[in-house]
Amino acid sequence: MSVEHLDRGPLTKDELAARVARDIPDGAYVNLGIGRPTLVADHLSPESGVVLHTENGMLGMGRAAVGDEVDPDLVNAGKVPVVETPGASYFHHADSFAMMRGGHLDVCVLGAYQVAVNGDLANWHTGAPDAIPAVGGAMDLATGARAVYVVMPLRGRDGTPKLVPRCTYPLTGVGCVSRVYSEEAVVSLRGGEVVVEETWGTSVAELRDLLVGLTIV
């Protein structure tokens, strides 16, 4: 049963990050993608026991480094200096990706250009002729993590939906996304349907009007 919060507007970026954090099980091993997914880290309490993995060879990644903490040898996947937490470990790149590809990561949170109702993910290449493609670890995460959550707005800058019947951008992974988190709604993708979990400032009926061609339940 969807919960509609119509007495307020859409979530702020921080509220959205907190909402994603709420769905991450205690003790989970989690990889947060570059950009908005990184904000989720600010809402994970130490008591949760959630351990952050960064693709460049670390478990137990901490917050962004400040001042004297900045160490060029200690960065996250976005090359931003971070700190280590007690119990952290370092390892080489093949081991780091074995953790993804071997199914040892419980959750990864990624951004996306498009997500299709069948869970297909497009987040690495617009396909534009002059675009320089860069894939990084996205395909390995999409394929290897046990659960793939996407944080993205429901509409692109041109107003067109990003949750679509079928991706038109080149794919990152096939049928991998199980949940989409946006400012207006959190939805699960199940059996070719969009299952609305919770909305903010938008009704389920309004989502139906926006997400043309999708089955919304």
Binding site: K79, H93, A94, A134, G136, G137, G144
Partner: protein, 225 residues
């Protein structure tokens, strides 16, 4: 007596790199990038190189400078496009450098396979994407996999933290990244370190790259920790 050599400086360490070599270059962005070895390779003049590295250079230094000097024919990497990759971007748009884009996990594992004598491996990463085009596929346990081949280097340029007198290595934090797999994947592995300790000065339990993978070690004075 160890087989690992300790050349006097970075220039001596890279003196015999041949034109047309495949050079594995460690680092994830600037972390672990062997900048002084790359600078020496730039002075040495080898050209028509194939470079294998996670990124395609940052700013104007190190790998970016090697690209900018026109020494690199092809780059094999996972993430060329960054906010500070303008040297690569310009070469790529001008059609002056070839790009083989490889998912980061495949890049690491293909290097690992090369070092471990694995002929090829199957992996589901990139199935259903444009990066699967032209690859052999096989369904294993009901899931489609792609056949991926090893990446061998003629030379690896790696930055580690400390070497001992026989060439065992330890790294520092996330600067380890591709170092260990590249060290094993190249015929000649050249390592820069910020410190060399006496043989016996590293705890054998903690050695990350054993000396068997290390051909040359050069200490960089005043190099970043």
């Amino acid at each position: 007596m160890s087989r690992t050599q300790f050349p006097v400086d970075a220039d001596a360490a890279v003196a015999d790199v041949a034109d047309g070599s495949t050079v594995l270059v460690g680092g994830f962005g600037a972390a672990g990038q062997p900048v002084e070895l790359i600078d020496a390779l730039l002075r040495q003049g080898a050209k028509d190189l194939t470079v294998v590295s996670n990124n395609a250079g940052n700013g104007d230094l190190g790998l970016a400078a090697l690209l900018g000097a026109g020494r690199v024919r092809k780059i094999v990497c996972s993430f060329p496009r960054q906010s500070d990759s303008w040297v690569f971007d310009e070469l790529y748009r001008a059609g002056r450098i070839e790009l083989e884009l490889v998912p980061q996990g495949n890049l690491a594992e293909r290097l690992r396979a090369a070092g471990a004598g694995i002929g090829a491996f199957y992996c589901p990463t990139a199935v259903g994407t444009p990066l699967a085009e032209g690859k052999e596929t096989r369904v294993i346990d009901g899931r489609e996999h792609l056949l991926e081949f090893p990446i061998h280097g003629d030379v690896a340029l790696v930055k580690a933290h400390v070497a001992d007198g026989v060439g065992n290595l330890v790294y520092r934090k996330t600067a380890r990244n591709f170092g260990p797999v590249m060290a094993a994947a190249a015929r000649t592995t050249i390592v820069q370190v910020s410190e060399v300790v006496a043989t016996g000065g590293l705890d054998p339990e903690n050695v990350v790259t054993p000396a068997i993978y290390v051909d040359r070690v050069v200490k960089i004075e005043g190099g970043a920790a």
